[in-house]
Structures are given as C-alpha cells and as structure tokens.
C-alpha cells in the first residue's frame, strides 16, 4: 500500500519512465515522423512492425493449433449422440435483440479498427469486437446461422489473408527499394507525402490484423462450443 503512494502521478511528464531518453524521443518525434496522434499505435505498427507482424502470426498459429486439437470429424450421416443435446430452438426475445444489435456492433468494430490512430483501438481490438458480433449471432440463432458468414472452410483463408496483407505491405516496401516494413517509401504508390504514407500504411496493416483476429476468434469459439463437431453449438 505504501509503495503505491510512491508511484508517480498518472500522466506526470516528469516521472522516470517519461523522462528517459528513448521515451522522450518517441514522445517528441512520433507526430512529425508519422502524423499519428496516438503514440501507442505508431510504436506498435510502425517502429515495431516486425514484432506486431509476428504477433499476428502467433495468433494464426494458435488458431491452427485449436483446430488441430479440438476439431473432430465424426461420421458423415450418423447422428452424434451429443448432437441431440445441443438442439434448441432460438429464443424470440434474445433473437430479436441480437438481430437489431449486430449491424451496429459490426459498425463499431470497423470504427475501432479505423480510428486506431486517434483513440485507443486498432486491429486486435476491432477484430475481437467483430468476432464477438458473430459469436452473438451464434448465440442468438445457432452455429449454422453464423457459419453462413464465416464457414469453416473460410476461416483459415481469412486468417491467411490478414497475414498476407501485413506481409504484403512489407514486401511492397522491399520491392520499391527500401527496408522491409519501412512504409515511408510507399508514397510513390499512394501519391501522398512520405509522412502520410506511413500513417495510411498503418491503417492497412491494422486491417490485416483485424482479419486474422476475427477469423481466429470465431474459430476458437465455435470449436470450443460445439465440442469440435462444428454442428450444433452452445
């Protein structure tokens, strides 16, 4: 308790963490270099681009591992005994509420992805919210209804697309004669100043992350909820 009172104040510019040389560099240089007001996003998606890219790959690997461990392929036409247990007609009240809520949640998820520059948020968080909207659909109706949008065959494709977008930005930089994930060179393609190019590329990268996280979120939920049969869920 007494140690807590010795902590520096929240947002104190003179606290040890803020007065260190490296942090000073980030705090003063981030906006002129990238035109992104939110430093966290800039550090995450630009200065430490490699790190975030392989975080996305880690999530992808986790998704593959979940599918490999949990997914069970029962016989095609035999009725699985547990399947009868899961059968349940959708509840009218829950279904109507979720039906009216889902488009707005999806819009909110896209807002979180798109405004990672200005407010807290970005690919990971937006992806989780977008995945949550599909989970809500699966809870309100049944797993089939949600799988109409995210079928099993499409999950890995979507997740792969996300990583492909992220790495694609890196290789595009490489092709144009700069370092891997050094977005400033992309101004030749985008037709804006190098500083704005960095900002816009961060958005592209975040979209890639969001794809992966959405797909893997839903995959984890549907595998866990249906005991790996992907038929009738929770």
């Amino acid at each position: 308790m007494s140690a807590v009172s010795d902590f520096p104040d929240w947002g104190d510019p003179h606290s040890p963490a803020n007065s260190y040389r490296l942090s000073q560099g980030y705090i003063t240089d981030t906006f002129p270099q990238t035109s992104v007001p939110n430093m966290v996003t800039a550090v995450l998606a630009d200065y430490r681009g490699y790190d975030t890219m392989f975080e996305t790959v880690v999530i992808f690997t986790a998704g593959i591992a979940i599918i490999g461990i949990l997914r069970r392929y029962g016989p095609k036409d035999k009725v699985i005994p547990e399947q009868k247990l899961y059968k349940k007609e959708p509840d009218l009240i829950v279904e109507t509420t979720c039906r009216l809520m889902i488009p707005i949640i999806q819009l909110f998820a896209l807002y979180v992805v798109a405004h990672g520059h200005h407010s807290p948020g970005g690919g990971f968080q937006g992806g989780v919210i977008f995945g949550a909207s599909f989970i809500l659909l699966a809870l309100a109706r049944d797993l089939q209804a949600a799988q109409k949008w995210v079928p099993e065959s499409r999950i890995l494709k979507l997740a792969g697309t996300g990583i492909f977008i992220y790495a694609g930005f890196g290789f595009l930089c490489l092709l144009l004669g700069s370092n891997f994930l050094d977005y400033a060179i992309l101004h030749k393609v985008m037709g804006v100043t190098p500083i704005e190019a960095r900002s816009h590329s961060m958005l592209g990268v975040e979209i890639g992350v969001a794809f992966t996280v959405t797909a893997i979120m839903f995959s984890i939920y549907s595998n866990l909820a249906s005991n790996g049969y992907m038929k009738e869920g929770l």
Binding site: D91, I93, V94, T97, L100, M101
Partner: protein
Amino acid sequence: MINEIICIVMVLSGLLFFVGGAIGIIRFPDFYTRMHAAGKGDTMSVFLILMGMAIYQLNDFSLANLLVAGKIFFITIFIMWAGPTSTHALIKAGIDEGQKVWTRKDEKGDPEA
C-alpha cells in the same frame, strides 16, 4: 452552474437506485425475486448516472463535447436495450436449471410441500 446541479441531482438519485438494487440482491428470498432487483435496479440508475454525466459534459458547449454526449447517450440506449434481454435470458436459464419458486407459507400455517 445549472448543469452541475442537474448532474449532481441525477447522479445522486442514480446512486440511490444502485443502493436499492444492492440491498435487494442481498435481502430477497429466492433467485427470481433477486432477479427483479438485479434487472431493474440497474437500468434506471445507469440511465440517470450516465445522463447526468452527459449533461455535465455539455457544460462548455462545443461540437466535440456534443458528440461525446451523444456517445454516452448511445451507451445508455445500449444498456436499456440489452438489460431486459439479459434479465430474460438469465431468468429463463434459472427455470431450465430447475430453481424452485419461493412461495410464502400460508397464514394457516401448513408448510409448503
């Protein structure tokens, strides 16, 4: 100034309803009656507290503050929209789980079966 007074009154009455819900969830006899305290005590108090905040936010009027107040209002709508549904879902789950409905013993004194 008038905004601050409205805000204080609204937040205090919201807190009062929170107290009602909290005491209700301790004192009421069975799951279903507790559900009444949980489901209703929360919606109105959240509405009052958040609207008080939104009104306080409009104290120095600008477009940005108006939009933030709009967002707070949006959360309020979300709560009042989702609250009844989760109440309903949980009480239905209680029925399906086989919770007993508590009934008052008769005045004549024959105990419940």
